[in-house]
Amino acid sequence: MSQTQGKGKLALYWAASCGGCEIAVLAIDEKILEVAKHFDIVFWPCATDGKVRDVEKMDDGAIDVCLFNGSIRTSEQEYMARLLRRKSKVLVAFGSCAMEGCIPGLANLNNREEIFQTVYEETPSTENPKHLVPQHETEVPEGKLYLPVFYDSVFTLDQVVEVDYYLPGCPPEAERIWDAIVAILEGKLPPKGSVIGADTTVCDECPRKRTEKKIKKFYRTWEIIPDEETCLLEQGIVCAGVATRAGCGARCPRVNSPCIGCYGPNAGVVDFGARLMTALASVIDSDDPQEIEKIIQDGIPDPVGTFYRFSLAHSLLRRKRKLMASAMAGQ
């Protein structure tokens, strides 16, 4: 791609991600041409050229904006995060994985050995009589083969390098991606360190009717057929909309499913799980602490997975704190 003077330089990268963020970028459809009008896309392994060598050769700060999706799980991903931080003026943690660890961040409930044990030994269809597990270095008859080191933990981007902005969502909705691009183009970015997004909650964009929430029981989603008009939380379904940042248009509640919190904590909220827990406790129709506890235990059998579904890797709850270096080395 030619590098015309006056145009900004844009890079997009994926680390430990599912590819959904890339699909979301492609879903801006013909607007991608508008992006190309204003930016030279200097690095986007998914859709154009993917040569790391070229990035290594760039001057520090040569990239104006880098949209980085995916979390950091291997030595290669850490290298790329550090490289792109150095080369980019503005580094955006793009999507839930980069921002807060997302669902794959639930892997931080286990360590590497437990994950290997399950995947390579215990899963029902695995036959591994020699107890082999993938190695960084393997001797084969023809020579040596190398794999990147699999770290003991999932890291968010800002646990590895300094991040300038955050774009939430799993994945970010195409419309919000476009809003962010426009903000960048017009130089209307919020202060450094901000989330580029709304400061309201999913409840604010949800069309369901809300009255007073007073519930005696939380239902699992398979225990109840909710009516399609009324607030799901009022019907006793754990809907995370109350703690979740707006931006998606309340798409899940519109198909009669509860918000699962993929847009991360609302503005001003440090810990998503703590916020959601407080919100849920406040709708329980009881003043008896024991009764409240029972209602929560019966209806929410997996508090960690429910309250930190997307944010475990970045939460205050993060499993026993370790020195970053030792965790990365898998010690």
Partner: protein
Amino acid sequence: MKRVTIDPITRLEGHGKIEIFLDDRGEVANAYLQIPELRGFERFCVGRPVEEMPNLTARICGVCPEAHHMAATKALDAVFHVDPPATAKKLRELFYSIFFATDHTTHFYALGGPDFVVGPDAPKAERNILGVVNKVGLEIGGQVIKMRHVGHNLIQLMGGRRVHPNWGLPGGVSRGITEEERREIEAAGRDAVEFAKFSLQLFDKLVLKNSEYVALITGDVYVQKTYYMGTVDANNHVNFYDGMIRVVGPDGREHAKYHPKDYREYVAERVEPWTYLKIPYLKKVGWKGFVDGPDSGVYQATPLSRLNASDGMATPLAQKEFQRFYEVLGGKPVHHTLATHWARLIELLYATERWLELASDPAITSKDYRVLPKEKPTEGVGCVEAPRGTLTHHYITDERGLVVKANLIVGTTNNNASICMSVRRAAQKLIKGGQIREGLLNRVEMAFRSYDPCFGCATHSLPGQMPLEVIIRNPAGDVVERLTQCLD
């Protein structure tokens, strides 16, 4: 020994790489496909409420989240011993057909198609979706974008979101469709069938009428005589959403036909220390190494496999194309892996016909799209055909419905051994006496690409050009030659 490294997305990016070793005579000694990443879903799903699985496992892959969402949802039916009402099954299959049509369109026009539409030896800068548009015209390019756009919008309409739907529940789905929505989906389905017919005509014109391409497809570089797996309905016709798993041998005869819940009797996975991705094989045949033939348990699960493993297609237009496919290629089974592209288009036609058929049924708007399970959750297996192969989700829960064990065999994983072998064979045919022939890069890439490998389900390779780099090193590991194929 010389080493040739092919990194689909360059060395440091961790999305799958190929190592080819040359012996002292410069002939290919061996080739390895390495998957350099793991996320461990099977571990961290343990302890989670099983009803979360359709949403959690969708994050395995953002390219085909619908497949994981659906396999997990069907596993929930089994876990809760509940049979969804007919409307729910129709809605799920409709949703799934739209997804399949959208996904196969992406592959043909953006990934696999450029090799044929633009040509395997065309300048690399043209061998991409833009080159396809140049060749077939802007109007058709616009139709491709529209097809994907409409498909994604309907997926959002039914399932909640374009990427990562939130819709499947044990015993049905969270929401049905209105009559107005049905009409919209039906109208789009009518266009989709025309689009699929057109795509097959295009393949006919550009590929089958070109003797060079036909020679490439039927030549000896891209051949694997393996077992083939696919899901079939009661008539042994291809089905993406539900049915029995059928496996045929390299001779085309039925090796097995089993209910998804019995998958462990038929499929096992081995572990190699040089890749994070496990290697499935047919248990009753056994693992004999990276070789094909009737004594090797290596199998494929691809569009070609699904056609080989079935007796036909359940819709009329696709059935005609199915018959023509085997007439032209000399009977069943077809072992030419490049024919997978043609098979994919036949599946595209089937998916769109199915889409239209299901959307034309006025009964699909019934409110009877969900029943509540009455039994305690225990254990269940759910299978669908993902675009890239048979997808299996298996969950065991405790009494409260918390997962105690999870097992996932994803589409591309089935093909792990076969992809390795295809790459090795292409390398062996193309690299002679240490000479890397011109065009090696794209020809090797083509061996890889016919499988439409989605390492999003393992790592992630996505729509768009897949840049390749071949590094030739001497035994000391120094780079002696470097070839790249990228959009510059």
